[in-house]
């Protein structure tokens, strides 16, 4: 499987799941992101059955760099553009600094808004 790979004395493989977990955690620490949405029906079903810590995160690797897709719920009343920019920046920074492979893109899909403070 084409997992993100480094070479040291031998090969080091980092699973997509590991990267998803890091992205998921750092997105949740990012201001304005209040949750994740299933990216499709199958994902939604899986999520309904097991509580997956990487749901709503998609990771791709093309042998050079990582691409991450985030399917997020944003807090109503925040400026969505700024929240999206900052979650993308945070996730990119966290993944690059912990995994050590370049992240070429973080795509943020805002799937919904949560209204906890109606105006």
């Amino acid at each position: 499987m084409n997992e993100p790979t480094y070479h040291y004395h031998g090969d080091i493989y980092v699973s997509y799941r590991a990267i998803s977990t890091i992205a998921y955690q750092s997105a949740l620490e990012s201001y304005g992101v209040v949750g994740f949405a299933p990216k499709n029906l199958a994902d939604g079903l899986v999520q309904a059955i097991v509580n997956d810590p990487t749901s709503g995160v998609d990771v791709h690797y093309d042998k050079k760099s990582i691409t991450i897709d985030l399917y997020v719920i944003v807090e109503y009343g925040t400026r969505i553009k700024s929240v999206a920019t900052s979650v993308a920046g945070n996730v990119k920074y966290k993944v690059e600094s912990t995994i050590g492979l370049p992240v070429s893109a973080v795509n943020v899909h805002v799937r919904g808004l949560r209204i906890s403070n109606p105006d």
Binding site: Y31, V34, G77, T78, R79, S82, Y93, P102
Partner: protein, 563 residues
Amino acid sequence: MTDNRVSPAQESEVRVVDKLEVGGQELKKYVQASLNWLKTNQQIVNSLNVFPVPDGDTGTNMVLTMQAAYNEIANSTEENIGKMAHAVAQGALMGARGNSGVILSQLWRGFARALDNLEKMNVDILIRALHEARNTAYKGVVRPVEGTILTVAKDVDIAAEKARVETANLKSILEKIVAAADDSVKRTPELLPVLKQAGVVDSGGKGLFYILEGILRYTQNQSLDTPIGAVQTIAALDMAQAMEEIEPGQDYEVVVDFQPASPLDLDSFYRDLSEMGTSIQVGEGDGMYRMHIHVPTDNRYKPIDYTMKLGTISKIAIENLMLQTGGVKSMAQKMAQVKLTPIEPGQIAVVAVSPGNGISQIFASLGANAIVSGGQTMNPSTEEILHGFEDLPTDQIIILPNNKNIILAAQTASAVSVKKVAVIPSRSVPQGLSAILRFDPEGDFDAVVNEMTSAVNDVVTGEITTATRTVELNGVQAHQGEIIALLNGTLITSTTNLDEACFNLLSQAKVEDYERITFFYGDNIEKSEVDRIIEAVTEKYPEHEVEVHEGGQSHYHFIIAIE
């Protein structure tokens, strides 16, 4: 910094703030004061960055957010504080920039909600509004990170509630809130390890502190544009001094470290100092202050006598600048001597990372358009590399990292930049020089990059340095303090004798298969010693072309290019 400032006492208007109620127009003035004070201190907040990528410019982002909030109400004649607060929140929301800007807009949103339908705000409503601001802000994140602007908002809320028990006076409550914000900001490194590692406090929290302090200063009738802003961390202050140009009339530099007996009134401190001299800077850290000033000869003891009246002096340094101007030049001036190749729009620019002044000169003479200082023990940050080329008037950039530890930072810089950037993986200075020889500013970008990349391996790199610890690598035993030789980055020999290290290196590099040997000598070796070794090398390899240049790099006696 010698301009005449209006002292607070000179302003005639006296604001009445201990009156119980605040209306819409008064809130507008608070917002304006916050904005002005934050603007004055914007650079301080900007300087508190930890992450190279997210939050690259917290101070600017917060100012822009507050500016948008103020613009929304600038022409409003609304007297109703509820409506005014909602307008502020709306403006902040629309203009929210960056993480801290978004949080700030949420704070305003919560604040405004507590004032819903209210004509005026009294102390109790203020406290409720601060509480609501905190709650609203915390709702915006699943896993709040403590040691940030959120923590400061929380501590402010707690302090406000506590203060209400003691007083109903708005001004005293404001004072307590600002003091609590200040304390909270100072504690952020204890809560967030990354701040502690970087030796800074949280930038967003500091920004919020200035916003609150701006209101307090307004109510206290203090000026909002005096550069108390110039109070830096002590570490930052040292940097500023090193890069400073000295003007005529500034005969002595006086630096005093002191601990004020009572809280320092920076307004009058600056005013008094500016009567003695120029280039005034004040740094603060852990209650200690460092004052820096340039004074004419007659005034050289005055700043000391003056500071002594304010508290306990721990250290004094006086330097005669007249000697300095004639003699050793500052680092900034030295760097300025490197004559970079000017760049035309549309051309390709080369940015070279260089470990020493001599090497910078060589890169510059070969066509480098920008130099970033850095090498083995002083890797430049992504930010520094970015600054190296962001301002060049072209969007095609080639970076020569010239050190294997800098390649990654260069690649990150290229990813962050909007320009078209290629990083040539030069792992040493000779590789970088070999690459830049193939550089053509007018060529096709990809072709030039390929050409330069392939040139990297045309040269063999030798390095002579001192072992900083005892180690065994590749079967070579190196003891701390011995002279070691590295061939293309691999340790090949360790000895106590510099000549032996050089000759071992040359013979292991199979120098007889090559034509030219170029030595770049460092700042840790005497010129006479260099001459002696070069003579010996020329004698042993009479067929070879041997060149020698001043490299100026630290730690490395020699960087050697063999081609």
